[in-house]
């Protein structure tokens, strides 16, 4: 069937038309909020007075944020959580992926699926589940620890009283880190499995013929070949870790916990805007956080850059 010429889209415009649904959504939900928050970062604004109530204040909001003790506290919390939850993810995911790759054949997809499950589960469901697991008096984790107290020798290392996981500042961060680790380790396993599949088998065969052990093969073939994927995975973890919000937000009832020990920068700037009504400072903090993310991503990039004369 022929389409009348009048209804035909000219080849010049067709690509733009077809790509426009994405572009429109991206402009509305991506570009506009970015630009607006940058604009807001230089304004003071009482939001309930309407858009006209904004007043330009220059870099005041940035200066305030940099002087604000709680902003620094939230950055420290974020850094702690990013390291404590991010590093183990990769240290566990790489050997785990290698193990799954080399030891499972038929069951592989099922095993990978099981590890991937937490990643696709709703954060709210996870947080509710873990709050009951971490409950001081009725939680399974404390019941488990109490049971271990009965075991000779092992019992010496276990806390005698039930641990207040989500109430005491010193316990909140480890509790959150455990959840974040548990949630994202499967995602990294999938990344590394995909990378492992691209390593040619003949390299291993040649290594085996040369008498290399499995450990040597892992160390000298697998790990170097995984480097690009490690770079990708670590970058994702750095960005995700620094923007951590949902898990601590729900676990601490949206307030950041006792002594704000679980208050990440993302939670703090959300609270600055919606709880403390300071949208200008919140926007400034979000851009400062962006700068931190950018610097750390650049450092990651540098750390993984190929070295040596051949590079």
């Amino acid at each position: 069937m022929m389409i009348p010429t009048a209804r035909r889209i000219s080849p010049t415009w067709a690509p733009y038309l077809f790509i426009s649904p994405f572009l429109i959504l991206f402009a509305v939900f991506g570009v506009f909020p970015l630009a607006f928050s940058l604009y807001l970062a230089f304004q003071t604004w009482e939001p309930t007075s309407g858009l006209a109530a904004m007043q330009y204040v220059g870099v005041d909001n940035f200066a305030f944020a940099l002087r604000d003790e709680w902003f620094w506290k939230s950055l420290k919390n974020t850094a702690w959580l990013a390291v404590a939850s991010g590093l183990p993810q990769h240290l566990v995911a790489i050997p785990l992926a290698y193990f799954i790759h080399s030891s499972f054949t038929r069951l592989r997809n099922g095993v990978v699926g099981a590890y991937f499950m937490p990643y696709i589960t709703s954060t709210v469901a996870i947080a509710i589940l873990f709050s009951s697991l971490f409950s001081t008096d009725y939680g399974l984790i404390n019941i488990g620890l109490q049971a271990m107290c009965q075991v000779p020798v092992l019992g010496w290392f276990m806390p005698q009283d039930p641990t207040d996981w989500l109430g005491q500042p010193e316990n909140i961060k480890p509790a959150i880190a455990i959840i974040v680790f548990w949630r994202y380790v499967g995602f990294n396993v999938v990344l590394y499995l995909a990378a492992l599949q691209t390593i040619p088998k003949d390299i291993y065969e040649a290594a085996t013929m040369d008498g290399a052990s499995r450990m040597q093969q892992f160390w000298h073939i697998t790990l170097p070949s995984l480097k690009p994927m490690i770079f990708f995975g670590v970058t994702l973890s750095v960005i995700g870790g620094l923007q951590l919000f949902e898990e601590p937000f729900i676990l601490t009832g949206g307030r950041g916990g006792s002594d704000q020990a679980g208050m990440t920068t993302a939670i703090y700037l959300y609270r600055m805007a919606f709880d403390f009504n300071d949208f200008g400072a919140a926007s400034a903090m979000s851009w400062l956080l962006f700068i931190v993310v950018a610097i750390l991503t650049w450092l990651t990039n540098r750390a993984f850059r190929p070295r040596g004369p051949s590079a």
Binding site: G50, F64, S258, D275
Partner: protein, 423 residues
């Protein structure tokens, strides 16, 4: 054939035109007021619709209901963009103070509203809460939360403690708690923080807010904070608090098992206890005034009209607010069905106040709360109150859990708040 067809077409077109005409006329005649509210205010508004319809059969009421937090975020967003604003918005007292700082809400003391002629009908402190520093009144109170001390009469009897011992002074309250703990094992209260929250509200000088004065000077090192922290520390040192925060599972479990002997709260808590928190403790609770005659408010609901709301609806919106807040029948219905303590003083002579409450062992507790409502003083609100509360709670935790010195803790809080006071 063709003619036949043309006739049908003409008839159809005529019918369509008539229908459209009727619909337009209907739309002109019918008006809809949108009320944005949160539970259980939404239910109260819905229940008032039949009363409204008696005088305004042509005006429909549409209730937009959201959860408490979502509702206030939605109202903040609507006010900031002047988009999707309801004709009437319900606001919780904390947000009334905050929204009063901005200029987004109508001053209801000016024409065409004129709340000034009605202010004497409302509980005085509630009107003060809705009055900004500039003297504008930006919201109308519909229900109030007079503070009360709910206590377990059975636990008091077993430990030989009288109600007077509990309420005479804060020191006697703590001493009574020690007796209760020794003879029954029950904690005096859920969290030491609850007590701090009341003590810092006592002895506020005129012109002072809770944390800041009218010139934004920080007040957290004043004697009322020192005393509140000292009393809270005594409570913790004597192990008189269960260390559980309100609305947690452990909190409701504490009520069910009788391990918490008293709770300071709004009068509405007895309704929650009776309905779902601890229905099995029926008859065991009593209500008293807060210790040392500390009259304090716990919550309260207001109605407001946004400046950006449709202008044509504003006179009707104002009329609807008057119905919700000045109509005795509507106010009493809300009290009876949802435990919304009336802001309208004319209801206070209703026989309902003299009825006994079975959950409170047949006590005529509404009389106690009515008395409290009349004595409460409003506290001036400051923009940084929400942040200040957070800072004070954090410092109190440090005092209670890690033995931080009270003066150092309050000085730290002061330093942090000074930085914010003028933002």
């Amino acid at each position: 054939m063709w003619l036949e067809g043309q006739r049908y077409f003409s008839c159809g077109a005529l019918a369509l035109a008539v229908m459209i005409g009727l619909m337009q006329a209907d739309a002109l005649a019918r008006q809809t007021l949108t009320v944005a509210a949160f539970p259980a205010v939404d239910e109260i508004v819905k229940a008032a619709i039949p009363v409204w319809k008696r005088s305004h059969p042509e005006v429909d009421i549409k209730v937009v209901s959201r959860q408490f937090g979502d509702h206030h975020i939605a109202m903040t967003t609507a006010l900031s963009t002047s988009f999707h604003l309801p004709d009437i918005m319900a606001l919780e007292v904390g947000y009334v103070g905050r929204f009063a700082q901005g200029g987004g809400l109508e001053d209801l003391s000016r024409p065409p509203f004129g709340i000034s002629q009605h202010v004497n009908h409302y509980v005085p402190y509630a009107v003060q809460q809705a009055t900004s520093r500039k003297g504008t009144i930006i919201a109308v109170p519909t229900d109030v939360g007079p503070g009360t001390l709910l206590y377990r009469a059975d636990l008091l009897a077993r430990s030989g403690v009288s109600e007077a011992e509990l309420t005479r002074s804060w020191d006697s309250y703590v001493a009574a708690g020690a007796k209760i703990k020794a003879s029954t094992g029950a904690y005096l209260l859920a969290h030491a923080r609850d007590m701090k929250d009341i003590v810092i509200r006592t002895g506020i000088q005129p012109g002072e807010g809770l944390y800041f004065d009218s010139r934004s000077q920080v007040l957290v090192t004043s004697p009322r904070f020192v005393r509140a922290f000292e009393l809270a520390r005594q409570i913790r040192q004597k192990r008189l608090d269960a260390k559980v925060l309100a609305w947690s599972n452990e909190w409701s479990e504490g009520f069910k098992r009788g391990s918490i002997a008293t709770q300071m709260s709004g009068a509405w808590l007895s309704g929650h206890l009776s309905n779902w928190l601890a229905p099995s403790t029926r008859g065991l609770w009593r209500a008293a005034q807060l210790p040392e005659n500390a009259f304090a408010a716990f919550g309260g609901t207001f109605f407001a009209i946004a400046k950006g709301a449709p202008a044509a609806n504003k006179p009707l919106a104002w009329e609807f607010i008057r119905l919700m807040t000045l109509n005795r029948e509507v106010q009493l219905n809300a009290f009876k069905s949802q435990d919304a303590f009336p802001a309208l003083l004319e209801t206070y002579n209703d026989p309902f106040f003299d009825q006994t409450i079975a959950f409170l062992g047949g006590q005529k507790a509404r009389q106690v709360w009515r008395e409290a409502a009349r004595h409460i003083n409003a506290v001036t609100v400051h923009k940084q109150d929400a942040f200040a509360e957070e800072v004070i709670n954090t410092e109190l935790d440090k005092v209670l859990d890690r033995g931080k010195d009270i003066r150092v803790a309050l000085a730290d809080a002061e330093r942090l708040l000074k930085q914010r006071a003028l933002r």
